[in-house]
Symmetry: C5
Subunit: 340 residues, 5 copies
């Protein structure tokens, strides 16, 4: 009941309503501004229409539509509240499907989530986008094709095509993620230290966020598959299976990327330990060789009156021999321990 962000302020421009009326032999397109223009199409029982509304901020408009098609108030709330999980809800004469669209221009960090609500009845399909996006362009083209299945098959097939268009976008996102992970993979494997851990942390957050947008789709589709609603036809089940397969594929792909990311983070930590080990070995080798030598030099730097060695002629070269001997022995010891 909470969390609605409908801002019906007068500043937002009147949303564009694309109306497509179509039948097997018929196709017309209208850009309408108010619902009066829609009413005649409601009567034509032999034709179907698709109404695409590319904004959900004009709540009056949505309430009008709800009135016109006697939509449950709960559905209206779901359409206008953009923090919903993907879901399907069946009503007597229409079915409500809500999915998340993902799109991005170039990089993972710019991935945007948008909510798309679809409502279909016997002879109409309504779709609500948060902002005008071009994901349905391909659908429009297919609809213009008079021999296409969209003209012939029912509104559940039409909804399938819309959902499929959205899921197709996911593959692009998945590829974007794969490429990024692959790039990190290369950088870490080549031991480039300029990798930014914070970025990995953010990638993981993005991955989790995307996953939580797609995950509920599984449930949605499995409800669809089991549904016995008259609007959902058995013969179109192959298509539903298809988007089910795609969803599973996307989720498995995301999981694979997540695991690779975890494995990368682990590898990074191990490399860090290896490097630290190397640093420590260097310090230890140098210190272990020179600290005893310095001590010996220190001894003969003492100013005692009575130090017999100081007077002896060969003390100095002898000491050098000792220095070299100690060093060689130490190096041998470290070599044997494989610290070099």
């Amino acid at each position: 009941m909470s969390k609605t962000n409908d801002k019906p302020d007068s500043l937002t421009p009147k949303p564009i309503l694309e109306l497509y009326s179509f039948g097997e032999q018929h196709f017309e397109k209208h850009l309408i501004q108010d619902l009066d223009a829609l009413k005649p199409f409601l009567e034509k029982k032999d034709l179907k229409f698709w109404l695409n509304i590319s904004s959900i901020h004009d709540s009056n408009l949505i309430l009008e539509i709800a009135d016109l098609l006697s939509i449950h108030p709960m559905v209206i709330e779901d359409i206008t509240n953009t923090s919903q999980r993907p879901k399907i809800e069946e009503f007597d004469d229409h079915i409500f499907v809500l999915v998340k669209m993902l799109y991005s221009k170039n990089s993972i960090s710019e991935i945007q989530t948008e909510q798309v609500s679809i409502l279909f009845g016997q002879n109409y399909i309504l779709s609500f986008q948060e902002t005008p996006q071009d994901i349905f362009d391909n659908v429009r083209i297919r609809l213009e094709n008079p021999k296409g299945k969209m003209r012939k098959l029912g509104s559940d097939y039409f909804t399938y095509v819309l959902v499929d268009a959205i899921i197709d976008e996911y593959f692009g996102i998945l590829e974007l993620i794969s490429d990024t992970v692959e790039k990190y993979d290369d950088q870490i494997l080549q031991n480039k230290s300029n990798i930014n851990l914070n970025t990995i942390h953010h990638q993981r957050k993005t991955l989790r966020r995307i996953r939580s947008s797609i995950w509920p789709l599984r449930e949605l589709i499995s409800i669809w598959k089991k549904s016995e609603h008259p609007l959902i036809k058995r013969k179109n089940m192959t298509y539903i299976n298809d988007i089910y397969e795609h969803t599973i594929e996307i989720l498995e792909g995301l999981e694979l990327q997540r695991e690779t990311m975890n494995s990368l983070a682990e590898l990074y930590m191990t490399q860090l330990s290896i490097k630290q080990n190397e640093v420590m070995k260097t310090l230890t080798v140098i210190a272990t060789i020179f600290i005893p030598l310095t001590f010996i030099a220190g001894i003969y730097g003492m100013n005692f009156k009575f130090m017999p060695e100081l007077e002896w002629k060969y003390s100095y070269p002898t000491l050098w021999l000792i220095f070299i001997l100690i060093t060689v022995m130490m190096i041998r010891y470290f070599k044997q321990k494989k610290w070099f």
Copy 2:
């Protein structure tokens, strides 16, 4: 059978009993002090009433109510024992629903849990709060609206509205948690070392505690959805689906926060390792350069009688050259190893 904390001591003030009697055309509100005032409303079969009791410590009162409405002793125990898990239990002529309310003033650490028990029959709804809280204010306003659905639909819808009011509070809590996690995220990413690990540890504990308060709701609602009790009407199922969706949403949100917190703790550890590596490198570079030099200086600090170099005129500048040479070579070596 254990763990009841009913303290019916005479000091606790008599709890306030808010009584709302309502029908489609009817609405009255009473603040009553004892149950005698309630009895007449029990008779009015054409009206429903909602009795909100904002204290569970007067066990006599609760036993009286139980007597009046022939409530199962197990339910009485559940109402007065505040360590119950959320649950639903069906009886012949009433249904018992127990949920946890969460509220907080400002910070995560102040999140309080309170138990709310709801019992509804054909024409009554009883709700028991641990302490007088204002979560049902909105419900009261909606109830006063003569055109609202609360007046028309059954007591299961009324219960839905109460539970929904409680779940709405969860979203506030979730937001509070998200904000806190986001704050930590920023602090860790900016490498601010003043972050307090203990706080993260406590956040995790809070998260776990909240989760365990909400998690059983899933089961509760799924029992509700499958219920064939006459008090639960099919036509109100859309509303139940709605709170189901909200519960899942909250749980997924909590899970997301938990994962982010884990990822943050891991990031913190990695940063710690990186810092340690840096510290070690500094030590190693300085020590590795100067320890051999100090040794050489130590050699010529020895007091042997016969050290030819001491007498030689250019010894001192030559040694400086050697010092500089060694330093440059070392620095080059470290640069090549990327320790700078």
Copy 3:
């Protein structure tokens, strides 16, 4: 078939058999020594009896009882073999329930596990304890109450009361664990280094052991709930739901403690790393400052004949200036790196 530890040696004292014969208007208690005293009560079909046997080591006795009540040999084996998992098994005219009792005097490390077997038929309840424990004291008191439900409801209710008494003990154990974990929590958060890691390790083992004793109860109760055995009455299902809720509550509580313990161990490790980091920083700061200074002092400790600086009047104070300058610069550098 294996793992029986029945030691029917003649040294173990004859176990005490408490016999309670009861009906709605009837109650008598006997301490009997052999089964002949039991036989008359088997005949009284209008009365029920409860036989509590506080030892399972007299296998002859148990075989006699089995004979008397025609109990399946598998059940006998289960009763005498104390390494069984909790389970329920239905037979034609009786039902066998096996649960684990947990009790402890003061600390987690002293938690004991004991097996309690319950067998109930139409008009009898047998309970077998490993050793005489007082967990059923409360049951005895309730049984003496002539108005109590134990006198009226069936033997499945009686079994519920026994199992509930056992589960009630779990809450005490859970509280004991919570207190211990809370204590560790405080100690680690306050960075007291005297915490004993081995104790944490043992706590975890105890937690796992307890969990594995309670976990199978879920299955047991869910079989009970689904059972269609004539001895299990629908109307008593509320009580079964109650112990189901309690079991889940205990298990969730244990899980919470386990997670807190893991989180504590992790926190401990992180604190260790932070401390090590601090130690390393101290070493590095001191070494990095003084090693170069010592080198410089070493230079002017050399005994070369021709070292112009040695003769110069202001060499010594100049060098002090250089020492101070280097130190200040180093400290500044470390401050900037936040190593202080």
Copy 4:
């Protein structure tokens, strides 16, 4: 709908179509170039044929086949799009099975994945390979055997044989992986430091990739087992169970390898820590012994006018005694601490 990579460019050579027409008493083999040669075999209802197409890039050919056998367009898409997950799809008069073939020449890193699509109807089996591979050689031999079951049993059995040939390859791959993991195991256990962590990282990635190719097979087979399609005969279920068992065996084998790999990575990290500990101990022992000694030597290297010890005759040998004493005590202390 996306992700097709059919490149019907004119350069790819015309794929080879192997046609096997067979019955219990009949067997003939043809290499055909176009589908006209196939048509006569479609008519012979008393014979079955197997058409193996070793390329999926000639989309015209595949569309022609689809036309000839009235295959659903979705299936055509699945055949030509090689990024599909293994699946089974039932149609009125044929069943579509898509699996992944894995093969490798020598090492894990060269493991290739290829898609094999099988379509079988009452009297035909079509199989599509991405590239001409020899995995079906064994099938061909068995088919030539006039007494073999392939001639007698239905096309579902024939499909089983094809899938089984593919799954058989998995065992080889699994063995390859086991050998590699075993090799790493040996190397790490023998503490050979030349192990390449990056290789482990890549092995894990390969393991994940292979697993994701095989995992969906479980679902595929379980759908097959539950299927009530007339083409799937109950009496051949034993064979399906067989490939189910094999798939589970492969997956469990992969899981075992994955766990061993994780355990190895962990072991490697621990060994690293142990080594670092050893390095640190060496440094600490040497430094802790010689730093105080050097200090003492330094004291008597000071040039104060008034240092009584300098004049004393036995200072020098006394100091040597002190040096030796300190060293011995230190070594004892370290021995006691087990740092040696």
Copy 5:
């Protein structure tokens, strides 16, 4: 179809075939060499027989048996191929059960896995062992007992006894593992550094291997329990429940050991960190105290002409005071930091 390792080479000795013919009043035992001796027993419908074959390498023999009892070729393959997963398979007039036997002489590392196949029909039980093992000794004894249930109950009960004998061995293995883990536990807790990490790694591998041998038993038994095959009698279900309970118990025991092992490995790592911390602290304390002192001594070892302190009479004792002062302050600082 793959992975058979039947080596029917002529060198392997003719396997021994133990034949037990029995009825309620009848028992005879024969050691037969070929199947001709078996045939007469096939006719006796009033008697059952158990044929135990302690080798699976004579494939001719197994084929002969298969012929005699018309066993499915798939089963023959399963019997001779020792890399099968435990499973149950039902046929018209017999049921095939395949389980894994585990046995060990003394230590975990010597645990051997062997495959045991059991095939039972109305009046016969066949069992195939890989090598002659004595696990069925107890079964033989029980069979000789004329009053035993093995003589009376059906061949499914007989199979239960065989499987139970195999599962009984698991308890010994589990105990062996517990003892080993307990031993490690003690060693690590007492901080004995001579523990061999590689051994832990191998234990884990063994644990995983054993688990994968036992895990499929759950599925096997649950299929058995749900089976409606006429050879499986309802009244013997208590026995099946018994082996189900045992299997779960074993698996939970293994899981407990696995968790303890993980917890031990973690504890070991933490101890390593604690030790490293201690080493570092020692180094830091010594270095931090003596490095500044050495520097000061170094200053007064310089040979400048003009160093006023050198001439001053009390310089040397003053310096000693300074040395002591610095040391005391340092030690206090470290004490306060709890580095001692």
